[in-house]
Amino acid sequence: MAETLLAVEDLKTYFYTEAGVVKAVDGVSFTLKKGETLGVVGESGSGKSITAMSILQLIASPPGRIVGGKIIFNGENLLDKSPEEIRKIRGNEIAMIFQDPMTSLNPVLTIGEQLIEVIILHQKLDKKSAAKKAVEMLSLVGIPEAEKRLKAYPHQFSGGMRQRAMIAMALSCNPKLLIADEPTTALDVTIQAQILKLMNDLKERFHTSIMMITHDLGVVAEICDDVVVMYAGRPVEYADVNTLFESPLHPYTWGLLASLPRIDDREKKRLEPIEGLPPDLVNMPPGCPFAPRCKKAMEICRVQRPEYREIKKGHLVACHLYLNMGEQ
């Protein structure tokens, strides 16, 4: 069993807005092991991105603030570090790529400038060697004529190429952890396939751990080792990928899987949607946030928030259905 690289414990990130306190992330915990890929899935607004940004402390404040929890990276709590120390970790030990390759690159700087900048910053190379390294990285992610492309601006790249450039940028400093926030959502399937393959190849090569945020269960199944499912700012289930798809425990996870149209179905079944809507993060109902939509909801679910516990080895769930299971 590989050692733990990142452990998030009871992370809470709130936004203080005029409408009230948005509890975007409200008690998230998970661990990510060295060299593995952790998938984070959940509906839109479930707090996936905020969790990721909290790790790098990129939350705009005001209105956002990390109000509690720990983020243990390599044995140290990132939340105890000074902004300057965090800055040194960003891009260097923990790198991040974002959903939208069209807007995540600065339109007025060349790809080269943006790539070299981070290399110089973290690797303390001079300009020339940084440029060499940049070319190397670009070819590595499969951009042809890398040297020439260094001088190109983002708008001269296609979506797929931009996402490759983002990946090159993220990996240029050999980070220990790569956080990928829906890196392929904006791309066509054929391009998505290319990018996923690339990420997998690079992961092998650099032994980088990846935290893969997505709402596409297919992507999770394809490339992740472990998965955490989030709902309304909280983790509801954590397991390795096979367990999760084969024997999911949380009703929400069931719902997700059942509502998915699949091409591997032989016969057309009627989809089983999760009825209702996700809750309002400002006025959260007491108890389990999923209770109003849950077919198995019990009395207790509406009053008491279920604990997020290890039910079986390596399988955590937050649900009253398993009240009596697992080690106490």
Partner: protein, 303 residues
């Protein structure tokens, strides 16, 4: 090109989560957001006071702004009887400023209505029908914009004669291209939205689409521009009057009063100070209100 639609949708998905608040209609919401901002509220109050003063001028003003003159006591400094002093004809400046609010209301409303009507019509036609009509109208607007606005206004008042009414027309003409441009660009963006296509799909005619679907959705920038323009129109009319091209004596227009006071700047600075401050406060009011409206009407700022 690829994927950008999907993206925008993704972004939109983040917003209306809290849309469960009780509905007060769109304008109710806007108003609520408006008065929540301190500066917008200040603007609203300034404008309201200004309108009120204009409305009730005879009740507030202690003297007649025109006939209560006394040449012997001209340029008297502020005193308890005449809190802003007397002007070059010995009239009460305070009363004149009060009545001046009426003139300014007129200026703001008339000149901006002029450009509003013209600009909205031109902009909507240009934006909706596009092609050569758009090219023609917008080139015309470019031509108007290529003139330095002050000179254009001066030239127009020179053509029509120095009179308040003509100054208002001049300002109306000068402002028209701004409205036309704003309306055109909003029409252009509204035109391509899916609800316009939906309207066409259910069989709406062009006119119905423009009036019922396009224009109501262009309201926000138009309202903002109107509010801001009323302020600047008052300012510009004052400038024209200052140059002797706008309101003529004895009309208590603020710019004309300023222009009057200019000769006495050393002997009796109060004749200049007060009308200038009146202009400043009113224009400030409209600017604050306009800014506030811009924020309140901008759905992106909804929280």
């Amino acid at each position: 090109m690829s994927g950008s639609t999907t993206l925008e949708i993704k972004r939109n998905r983040l917003q209306p989560r809290n849309g469960k608040r009780e509905s007060k209609g769109l304008w109710g919401d806007v108003f609520k957001r408006l008065i929540r901002s301190k500066s917008a509220l200040t603007g609203l109050i300034l404008v309201a006071v200004f309108l009120l003063v204009a409305l009730c001028a005879p009740l507030i003003a202690p003297y007649d702004p025109i006939t209560d003159s006394d040449l012997v006591k001209r340029l008297e400094a502020p005193s308890s009887e005449h809190i802003m002093g007397r002007d070059s004809q010995g009239r009460d400046i305070f009363s004149r400023i009060i009545y001046g609010a009426r003139i300014s209301v007129q200026i703001g409303v008339i000149s901006v209505s002029f450009s509003l009507v013209l600009g909205v019509a031109l902009g909507a036609i240009a934006g909706f029908y596009g092609k050569w009509l758009d090219g023609l109208i917008m080139r015309l607007m470019d031509i108007l914009l290529a003139f330095p606005s002050v000179l254009l206004a001066i030239a127009i008042t020179a053509v029509l004669g120095p009179e308040l009414r003509n100054a208002m027309i001049a300002i109306g003409v000068v402002y028209t291209p701004h409205f036309a441009r704003i309306v055109r660009s909003t029409v252009l963006s509204v035109k391509t939205t899916e609800y316009i296509e939906a309207a066409r799909a259910i069989g709406c005619s062009d006119l119905r689409i423009i009036l019922r679907h396009v224009l109501p959705n262009c309201m926000a920038p138009i309202i903002v521009q109107t509010t801001l323009s009323i302020g600047t129109a008052i300012l510009d009319a004052a400038a024209l009057s200052f140059l002797g091209l706008g309101a003529q004596p004895p009309t208590p227009e603020w710019g004309a009063m300023l222009s009057d006071g200019r000769s006495y700047i050393q002997r009796a600075p109060h004749v200049m100070i007060f009308p200038g401050m009146a202009i400043m406060f009113v224009v400030l009011g409209f600017n604050l209100l306009g800014d506030g409206l811009r924020d309140a009407l901008d759905p992106r700022l909804k929280r």
